[in-house]
Amino acid sequence: MLNRRYKLWATLAVLAAFHGAILFAGFFAPYGYSTQDRALPYAPPSQIHFVDRQGEFHLRPFVYGLKDDPENYGSYVEDDQQAYPLRLVVSGSPYRLAGTFALRTHLFGTDSPGRLFLLGTDGYGRDQFSRLLYGGQISLAAGWIAAGLSILFGGIIGSLAGFYGGWLDDVLMRGGELFLALPWLYLLFAVRAALPLEVAQWQVFLLLIAVIGLIGWARPARLIRGIVLSAKERNFVTAARALGASDAYLLRKHILPQTYGVMLTQMTLLVPQYILAEVTLTFLGLGVSEPMASWGTLLSSLQQYYVLVSYWWMFLPALLLIPVFLSYYAAADALQERVKSVAL
């Protein structure tokens, strides 16, 4: 028991750390998400040195500046004439912390014109690490909104259909099939195109993702209906019904608790899935517009063959996202077990 609780808290703590870094992206990111350095497109991650060319050891780590590789067009070599020490708590470009406080303080950085690119840069010379943090703000919001809407509507509709059965079940489930089959992309195209140009790009994107979430009720609804169907035939439910329990009571006390497990499994699967759905949206031209960053756009840059084969550091954001998603799954698994142990 203790072990289980410990596991839950541990994963929640990890998630809280991730979310904190993303919420306060401005502080943790050394640069803005749209700051271009046109001299350094597709620069590899900065190498952090302790020992300089003379073999001298420095307690404070430093990076070298980059210059074009004369032998290899489009790549860079370190310029050991320019060393820039890394510093903690530096003053840099202005930003708004969590969207409210205007600040210029960043957790770490290096002296200008030196650049510190932890994960390298993209084709515009923008710092991928900063974009990863800022991108999380949009992507996580999108994932939660969409998954929440799907589960909410799917849960309500699925349990109504399963519990009452009959014509209501028929109508709702056929409606669900209808929803699954329709060419929703057109709706997305239409919604996207109908929005006025003044609407901010991140709002457009969240709206599109919310629409996808709403449309997505049908799948969880089917699963939840299945659970409710068999749950209501359980002996203790029939017994409670015989004792005169109301529908609302039965649903709340006996039947819905049995669906929580499935709902949580679904939620855990859906949040990352909706975050990743943006990759497909980007593929069809419905993703977040430049210069905004989101995890979907970071991943979808890997779609391009030349990025895939030329710039290995463009994989790093994808690799760093795996632990985030994994901790989501882990937290949800732990929650699921907890719910179960309470329900039993």
Partner: protein, 581 residues
């Protein structure tokens, strides 16, 4: 009767060092008058495989619209007068020679004798007359019809004898020879019945049986497999021969694979599945270049093509459109000083470097250096200058507030959006760079990327946009192909499609110059007129031209006679001369 006295024979051989009509067939009247090409003699046999984006939509040359379809159809058909893709000048094709009346209104084309369609049936003037009847038929809706309407009247076509056809225009037309390029001559003996029955537009769909097809091109249909490939085979009746007298084409088969994305095409080429590759991005070019020797292919950068990319502002008359916000912003967009400031602030070199990996040429007007005959090379090419941009804005009564935001004369912040198509990665990236450039001037710019159809809907129908990044690529180097862009009444006069008469004096001047060049037959005088158009565009900036991407191509080393061109169909420009080692 033809007014023979008015006819001036045109010297056809000037400028075509590599091609000349055969004169050997004298004496024998029925002997076929083949055309002899000048390139190296190759080996017969073998197959060449190319990838195209999608299935052909039809095999009917009259109805073909999209690029993949045209590319395939052009290998199966021939035209009367052809534009040499390398010299960009016209040269004889099915017509061995032609003459033009002094007033430029009457064309007499002399057809090659003894030619046969790919099914062995003879080719005569009747086929030519029939073909033009079909192209001009309004019920058929051929996209090429417009080219054949000069001065509001369709060309009239008349058969003089079996091998002579007369074309009459209502007014002189400078580019008249060029309209024949790409107009496939159809076999009357196969298509006439369907045409009379009114079922022509259903004819020659993609799944037609190969034996129902006949054309005058180098290849004929062998097999079509939906979603996978179309195989063409050598046309044994083709009318060109090499220097050694061997009938072209050399290869037995030409296979088009349908590969839906550029990256996949690049990969198939890299894997050795295809022999030729065109239309690849600069980044993929760099990727392929690294393995050039290892994998046995070569890549070529042919320099700028005809495509020009540009930024433009919505200058449409929006009265009654219920778009007050955009109407308000049009006060800035209509200000030439504002447009000049934007142009001065744009880092064109940055676009070339970051978007095209250096494989593009910056532009300040619409004609690219690839268009050797028509580019005005005396145009100024000022580098990015934020100082000059600020100066221009100040002169146009803009100012800055304490936080550096740009304000107009009435104190309102300058904020607008740039529309791009999400299906074009390069233009989206251009927009992102421009956005960043203009931010430095204190403008607030948003990039809005929509799918292509949604964007076009806004540009052409609703006019609900502020600025957009687009590109146009004419099919031909001649200024005539740009008429619809520059005439104020033109259908692709993108920045203002609502003009009933020119909205500004300089647009009136462009109208005058464009109309003038259309009827001017002398090249030097036409060039002078078109130079002036380019100067006005560079000065008034209805389109802020940015860059022209280079045409990048590749071929396996085993492909001989590989002479790609910057005009479509690029690597297939001389498909009848290609051979495999």
């Amino acid at each position: 009767m033809v007014p023979m006295r008015g006819l001036v024979p045109i010297s056809l051989l000037v400028g075509f060092a590599c091609m000349f009509p055969v004169q050997r067939a004298q004496g024998v009247q029925t002997k076929e008058e083949r055309m002899v090409t000048g390139s190296a003699v190759g080996q017969p046999g073998g197959t060449i495989t190319v990838a195209v984006r999608s299935d052909p939509k039809t095999l009917n040359p009259v109805l073909a619209v999209d690029e993949s379809t045209r590319e395939i159809i052009d290998c199966m058909n021939a035209d009367l007068i052809h534009i040499n893709r390398e010299t960009q000048k016209t040269e004889p094709a099915l017509a061995k020679s032609w003459s033009i009346s002094r007033d430029g209104k009457i064309f007499i084309l002399h057809l090659r004798r003894g030619l046969e369609f790919s099914d062995g049936q003879p080719f005569t003037a009747d086929d030519v007359v029939f073909s033009f009847q079909v192209y001009l038929d309004e019920k058929i809706h051929s996209p090429q019809r417009d080219l054949l309407v000069v001065g509001g009247k369709p060309v009239s076509v008349k058969k003089i004898d079996e091998l002579t056809v007369e074309f009459q225009l209502t007014e002189p037309y400078a580019a008249a020879e060029r309209i024949f390029d790409g107009l496939a001559i159809l076999p009357k003996h196969i298509l006439e019945t369907a045409y009379r029955n009114g079922t022509f537009s259903k004819l020659w769909g993609v799944s037609m049986p190969p034996n129902e097809f006949a054309g005058l091109g180098a290849f004929r249909l062998k097999e079509y497999v939906p979603g996978q490939r179309i195989v063409l085979e050598r046309n044994p009746h083709y009318w060109k021969a090499d220097r050694a007298g061997r009938r072209l084409p050399y290869i037995d088969q030409l296979v088009f694979l349908f590969v839906p994305s550029e990256d996949a095409q690049v990969i198939r080429f890299q894997a050795g599945d295809t022999d030729l590759l065109s239309r690849l991005s600069a980044e993929n070019f760099a990727v392929l270049q690294r393995e050039q020797t290892l994998r046995g292919y070569k890549l070529e950068d042919l320099g700028p093509g005809l495509e020009y990319n540009f930024l433009f502002f919505n200058l449409n008359n929006l009265t009654g459109k219920k778009l007050p916000e955009i109407e308000r912003k049009q006060a800035w967009f209509e200000d030439t000083g504002f447009r000049q400031a934007v142009s001065a602030a744009i880092d064109r070199d940055g676009i070339v470097r970051l978007v095209y990996n250096g494989r593009a040429t910056p532009l300040w007007s619409q004609v690219t250096p690839g268009n050797k005959l028509w580019v005005d090379s005396s145009l100024a090419a000022p580098p990015q200058s934020l100082d000059r941009a600020r100066e221009l804005l100040r002169t146009a009564h803009f100012s800055w507030n304490s936080t550096g935001d740009l304000l107009d004369a009435r104190g309102r912040a300058v904020e607008f959006s740039i529309l791009t198509s999400s299906s074009n990665a390069e233009r989206s990236r251009i927009a992102t760079l421009i956005q960043d450039d203009l931010t430095k001037l204190g403008m607030k710019v948003h990039v809005v990327s929509l799918d292509f159809s949604a964007m076009v809907d806004r540009l052409l129908n609703s006019f609900d946009y502020e600025a957009a990044v687009m590109g146009l690529a004419s099919g031909d180097a001649d200024p005539e192909s740009e008429m619809n862009v520059w005439l104020s009444s033109g259908g692709t006069h993108l920045w203002n499609l609502t003009e009933s008469k020119p909205a500004t004096p300089w647009e009136a001047e462009i109208d005058r110059l464009m109309n003038q060049q259309q009827v001017t037959l002398d090249y030097k005088r036409r060039k002078h007129l078109y130079d002036q158009v380019q100067q006005i565009v560079a000065q008034e900036l209805p389109l802020v031209c940015l860059a022209s991407p280079h045409i990048l191509v590749g071929a396996k080393n085993r492909v001989g006679n590989f002479h790609p061109a910057i005009l479509a169909p690029y690597v297939l420009a001389n498909v009848d001369e290609l051979y495999v080692h």
